[in-house]
């Protein structure tokens, strides 16, 4: 297990390094931030001074070397726009995005798995067909449009919930969170649903397909032949088997939810990392973009690592092959 873990961490580090090169090069070629940063009336000397201050006059490999050296010390550069460390700016926004993503994940898992299993157990029932029909809608309607529709119905027509912003926040474990106050919660509901709908549909379909497959296995029939209650057959024998693929998807999707909640954050004016990224791209705030992408890579790689560990807890057969490997 430990050997496996060490190897797995090594692979993750390689992935992070490869991404660092790609991200740095990619951002380097987007455009010259100086054009956006200095005022149009600035003199040649002022522009040259800015270029030198930002270190943009050095050759690419030197810039990259400095970037890596600083990154290793936890410094991802200073924002051109805000004049503060990029990482700090992003970390300020991280709790908002994390909260949104986690609530959305809880919604999609908490609703998606039961609905999917239900539809898988009774594929021909009206409820089963309705669930599947609904999931196709959740799957295929564009995210931003769903968000706008939610605002239209619940904020504009019914007036039940606010249309945007984060509302009142309280301190919880050193982070600002919304879900502990009613005002915050009411701001959180719509964006969380918006972010959750797609993943929920994905989980419903996955859970249904796997439930149908597992139900045909002999061990489910054998469990019934042992006289177990249908409840136990489904909750223990079926559920534990379908959780393996579901956990993979949850892991992958949590990463992408944290990283790319951009659309939802934009539609609902949620002050998270996604919105920051859009703003930074518009301003060509290179360090923030790089820091954001690097952090995203770290989050996704970290979650994948975690998923692999959870896997081995769920499936004893994986544990065995790890020992050998």
């Amino acid at each position: 297990m430990i050997v496996y873990l060490v190897r797995r961490v090594g692979q993750s580090l390689l992935a992070v390094m490869a991404m660092a090169v790609l991200v740095f090069l990619g951002v380097f070629f987007i455009g010259n931030p100086v054009d956006v940063l200095v005022s149009p009336e600035a003199s040649q000397a002022q522009i040259a001074a800015t270029v030198e201050r930002l270190g943009l006059d050095r050759p690419l490999y030197e810039q990259f070397g400095i970037f890596v050296w600083n990154a290793l010390q936890g410094d991802l550069g200073t924002s051109f726009v805000y004049g503060r460390p990029a990482l700090e700016i992003i970390l300020d926004r991280l709790p908002a995005t994390m909260e949104l993503a986690l609530v959305a994940l809880a919604l999609s898992v908490g609703i998606g798995i039961p609905l999917g299993v239900w539809a898988g157990l009774r594929p021909d029932s009206i409820a089963g067909r309705t669930i599947m029909g609904g999931s196709i809608l959740g799957f295929s309607l564009p995210n931003f449009w769903q968000g706008m529709l939610l605002i239209l119905v619940f904020a504009v027509l019914l007036g039940w919930l606010p249309a945007g912003g984060r509302g009142e926040t309280t301190e919880f474990l050193g982070m600002q969170v919304s879900f502990l106050t009613w005002d915050g919660l009411s701001h959180l509901i719509l964006p969380a649903i918006n972010l959750a709908l797609f993943k929920m549909s994905l989980i419903i379909r996955l859970a249904r397909a796997n439930t149908r497959e597992v139900c045909m296995q002999d061990y489910v029939k054998f469990a019934r032949a042992k006289g177990l209650s249908p409840r136990r057959v489904v909750l223990v024998h079926v559920l534990k088997n379908i959780m393996i693929p579901v956990v993979t998807i949850i892991g992958l999707e949590l990463g992408s939810m944290v990283a790319f909640a951009i659309v939802t954050e934009t539609v609902f004016a949620w002050p998270g990392m996604g919105k920051l990224l859009i703003d930074s791209i518009n301003l060509l705030d290179r360090p923030v973009i790089v820091a954001y992408l690097m952090l995203t890579v770290l989050i996704i790689v970290g979650i994948n690592l975690l998923v692999d560990v959870i896997y081995s807890l769920l499936d004893p057969r994986i544990r065995l092959s790890e020992m050998k490997g």
């Binding site: 061990y219 006289g227 223990v236 024998h237």
Partner: protein
């Protein structure tokens, strides 16, 4: 003494898009306490479905369409799911064909055994574990404590089948339905499991329905045989009598296709053709198209008629006693 199990005109149909497949068509047999019945037939003859029908474990689109299954005085079909569930694993246990598939791969053996005990009896976990250990020892598994903490993939096929048998024995059932439990195993393990099961059943007076396509296996084990073809029983009676004197041409064909030492070097006889599709059965006798004795009379389906002491056969032209194979 009334029979332990009385299956009467059991019908199990599969309602498919292409029509109704009558997998089990008016099958009747009965079983005394402690008796061993061999249910023999080729693939698709309905023998496994018969077994599953008794316990109400037929998966859709199949369902029991008629008949009675009377177990110890209770009609299981009329009683429905609640009655069946209270008996499953408790008084009627089942062993499946493929031991690689019958144990849940992600649950430990102790979980899978303890839940069986606790599904029917309100006992403490420790007591349940003690009984599981006992059952494992009974089926010849050494160091049961260690084995209980293992996962199915850490076991060989034979070991898994022993575990499945141990699970079946947990409640000392009155009847075990074994669906080709040795087919997927090595020949040596097959023999071990066979003698083990025979011994255990004799010890506890458990009746057994042994479903198989292998006459050689069942002839040394069963008290009675019922031969199935295309969803119907075509011959039944005491094992020794049927093996010595098969009346139905199909049974004779099955027996002749088992290799025997005395015919060393000779070609094996085979039954020509293959089992008909259940969706497209021939008129009259279902075996007629493959039967060397078929004639015009076989256009009408024969009924099961008495053929000697305690025997029945469904044929217009049954073989006589000790008639040589043509």
């Amino acid at each position: 003494m009334s029979a332990l199990l009385d299956v009467c005109d059991l019908q199990t149909h599969f309602f498919t898009r292409d029509g109704v497949a009558k997998a089990v068509d008016k099958v009747s047999f009965s079983l005394e306490k402690g008796q061993i019945l061999g249910l023999v037939g080729e693939s698709g003859s309905g023998k496994s479905v018969t077994g599953f029908s008794i316990l109400g474990l037929v998966d859709p689109p199949g369902r029991v369409a008629g008949g009675q299954v009377i177990f110890d005085g209770t009609d299981l079909i009329a009683g429905g799911e609640p009655v069946m569930r209270s008996l499953r694993g408790k008084r009627i246990a089942m062993i499946f064909q493929d031991p690689m598939m019958t144990l849940n791969p992600v649950l430990r053996i102790d979980t899978q055994m303890v839940e069986t005990v606790r599904a029917h009896e309100n006992v403490s976990k420790a007591e349940a574990l003690r009984r599981c250990r006992e059952a494992l020892v009974q089926v010849g598994i050494s160091s049961p404590d260690e084995r209980l903490k293992s996962y199915p993939h850490q076991f060989s096929g034979g070991m898994r089948q022993r575990v499945a048998i141990a699970i079946a024995l947990l409640h000392k059932p009155d009847l075990i339905i074994a669906d080709e439990p040795t087919t997927a195993l090595d020949v040596t393990i097959q023999a071990q499991i066979l003698s083990e099961v025979q011994k255990l059943c004799a010890q506890s007076g458990t009746a057994l329905i042994w479903i198989t396509h292998d006459l050689a296996v069942v002839s040394g084990l069963a008290d009675r045989l019922a031969v199935m073809y295309a969803g119907r029983i075509i011959e039944d009676g005491p094992t020794a009598a049927i093996i010595a004197n098969p009346r139905h041409p199909y049974t004779r064909g099955l027996i002749d296709s088992v290799p025997q030492g005395k015919r060393h070097g000779a070609m094996l006889t085979q039954i020509k053709g293959m089992t008909p599709s259940l969706l497209n059965l021939p008129q009259g006798c279902k075996f007629a198209p493959r039967c060397p004795r078929a004639d015009a009379a076989c256009q009408v389906e024969p009924a099961l008629t008495p053929a000697g002491p305690d025997r029945q056969v469904r044929c217009h032209h049954p073989h006589a006693d000790h008639e040589a194979t043509p």
